[in-house]
């Protein structure tokens, strides 16, 4: 493993995605700000926009940084350089994850801070479950992109993730214990939410390991 090569490839991709990264960061911050306005309609619209930005950022960054290397034929150029498949895989998965986590973490942190500032601490209990769901959905798209290298299949998984998100939100807010915490001004952690977060973290780790395993076992790079 060549750490210097991994660092150079990582920085190269970070630079190449700078415009999208800035756009999604700015859009995420704007949506978060809207969600924090003390008006029920604006808060709702802001929250929907936060979710939209998170989903759009995921599919766009996977497309730009991972899938486009095949369609734009730039991978042949990169793989002709003195880097191994392992170097390439580590840098590629790391940079895709990092660029997604920047707007994701900013929106997550922004909403948590705003919820505390507005004195609605109870809402904080559901935010990790929702944001980790979005992260898991992104990871499943990433694994699909790694395995299939197909834009179509990756979009299918994204659509599936969106459908599941709606069902997930219905189930989450349909839980009496969760609903009670959300309405209160005191932060407590319902066991239902903690179970969900545990499963989400497990899915994240399994998806990450699967992505690395598939990427590093490819025999033909181009």
């Amino acid at each position: 493993m060549n750490l210097q090569a991994i660092r150079i490839l990582f920085l190269k991709d970070l630079f190449l995605s700078r415009r999208q990264l800035f756009a999604y960061f700015a859009a995420g911050m704007a949506a978060t700000a809207l969600a924090c306005v003390p008006n029920a309609t604006l808060t709702f619209v802001g929250f929907i926009l936060v979710i939209t930005v998170a989903i759009a950022a995921g599919i766009h960054l996977i497309g730009t940084l991972m899938l486009s290397e095949t369609t734009d034929q730039t991978r042949l150029f990169v793989m002709s350089l003195p880097i191994s498949l392992l170097d390439y895989s580590i840098s590629k998965i790391s940079v895709v994850l990092t660029t997604y986590l920047i707007p994701w973490a900013s929106m997550f942190a922004g909403l948590v801070i705003a919820t505390f500032v507005l004195g609605k601490q109870g809402n904080v209990a559901v935010l990790p479950a929702i944001f980790f769901f979005l992260l898991c959905s992104f990871m499943l798209q990433l694994v699909t992109a790694v395995i299939t290298e197909s834009v179509g299949w990756t979009i299918c998984v994204m659509v599936g993730g969106n459908v599941c998100l709606n069902v997930f939100m219905m189930k989450l807010f349909g839980n009496a214990e969760v609903l009670e915490v959300v309405k209160s001004d005191v932060l407590t952690w319902p066991s239902y939410v903690l179970q969900i977060i545990s499963v989400e973290l497990l899915v994240f780790v399994v998806a990450l390991v699967t992505a690395f395993l598939f990427q590093t076992r490819k025999r033909d790079l181009v």
Binding site: Q73, L81, L85, D220
Partner: protein, 307 residues
């Protein structure tokens, strides 16, 4: 660096493939066996879809063979091994640079991975190729794009250049500029070029040795002068009903009335004597171009595989 030696001649090899095979759904590369001597230009000629690109990608470690041994610059080649690629420059017609970025950005990027990057030489190449480092890749013409990629490869001073159809689709001037630069490269005896094309004229111009490949198999391999010396075309007037004698290396290319055009792959002064007989008149013994030799080799190979 420890170079591999050719077991029969004892010469240093820059690259070699031994019994390399690779199967795809609709294509098979079968028992590819060839080597490139250090300090030479080796041409790989084949029709479209013959397996040239796959062969070169295997040699570069971009595609893993199903079987066989591949080495370059004395090191085994595989996708998990990056060290050998430090001294290899690979170009493919299918290769693309990042469209939104400039050539200068690409130069900085490649330089960060190659300690041997030569800034002075890179500047000279910019000038010789008529490129501007601030140019955005998206706005480059095909010829400029090929030159830009060759600049990125040549300025790292690789010991082995693997060039897959570098002159494909270029205008004559751009082609001349590139071939001239490649000739400059091999003025340094330690540097080697493996060059593929379906254009025999380009290969003939710069190659020391030539390998023909068709339908995933090597069909002939020799040095260029040997090819040109040993292959001859014989124009022969023969009586009606005359049949081409079954002599190794002899093939009937065309026949119009009593004029038979034969090609011979192992010509020697004794050959005309083999074509003596009542009513047989040899009209001419002519040299063949590399293109004619290539086409005849391919047709012989295909006839051989059908029979």
């Amino acid at each position: 660096m420890t170079m591999e030696l050719d077991s029969s001649t004892g010469t240093e090899l820059a690259a070699s493939m031994v019994d390399v095979s690779k199967s795809y759904k609709h294509f098979k590369l079968r028992n590819i066996h060839f080597s490139v001597e250090r300090g030479t230009v080796a041409g790989l000629i084949g029709p479209n879809g013959a397996g040239k690109s796959t062969t070169m990608r295997i040699l570069m470690g971009l595609v893993q063979p199903d079987s066989g041994v591949v080495s370059a610059l004395g090191k085994p080649i595989s996708s998990s091994e990056a060290a050998a690629k430090q001294d290899i420059g690979y170009f493919s017609d299918d290769m693309r640079l990042y469209k939104p970025e400039s050539l200068g950005w690409h130069m900085q990027f490649v330089r960060s991975l190659y300690p041997a990057w030569d800034d002075v030489y890179a500047t000279q190449l910019l000038d010789r190729f008529g490129l501007i480092s601030q140019q955005i890749v998206k706005g480059l013409s095909h010829g400029q794009r090929v030159k830009a990629m060759l600049l990125l490869i040549l300025a790292r001073r690789p010991k082995l250049l693997i060039l897959d159809e570098p002159t494909n689709g270029l205008d004559p001037v751009a082609k001349h500029e590139i071939l001239t630069e490649l000739m400059r490269v091999v003025e340094d005896d330690s540097r080697t070029i493996l060059y593929s094309s379906h254009n025999t004229q380009d290969v003939e111009q710069i190659s020391d040795s030539i390998t023909f490949i068709d339908r995933g198999q090597v069909i002939a391999s020799s040095n260029r002068d040997e090819f040109l010396d040993k292959w001859k075309r014989i124009k022969l007037h023969a009586p009606e009903g005359w049949k081409t004698p079954e002599v190794e290396g002899l093939r009937l290319e065309t026949c119009h009335r009593n004029l038979h055009v034969l090609s011979f792959s192992q010509f020697s002064d004794q050959v005309p004597a083999l074509l003596q007989g009542p009513g047989l008149v040899i009209e001419a013994v002519e040299s063949m171009t590399l293109e004619e030799i290539f086409v005849s080799s391919v047709m012989r190979g295909r006839e051989g595989s059908q029979s």
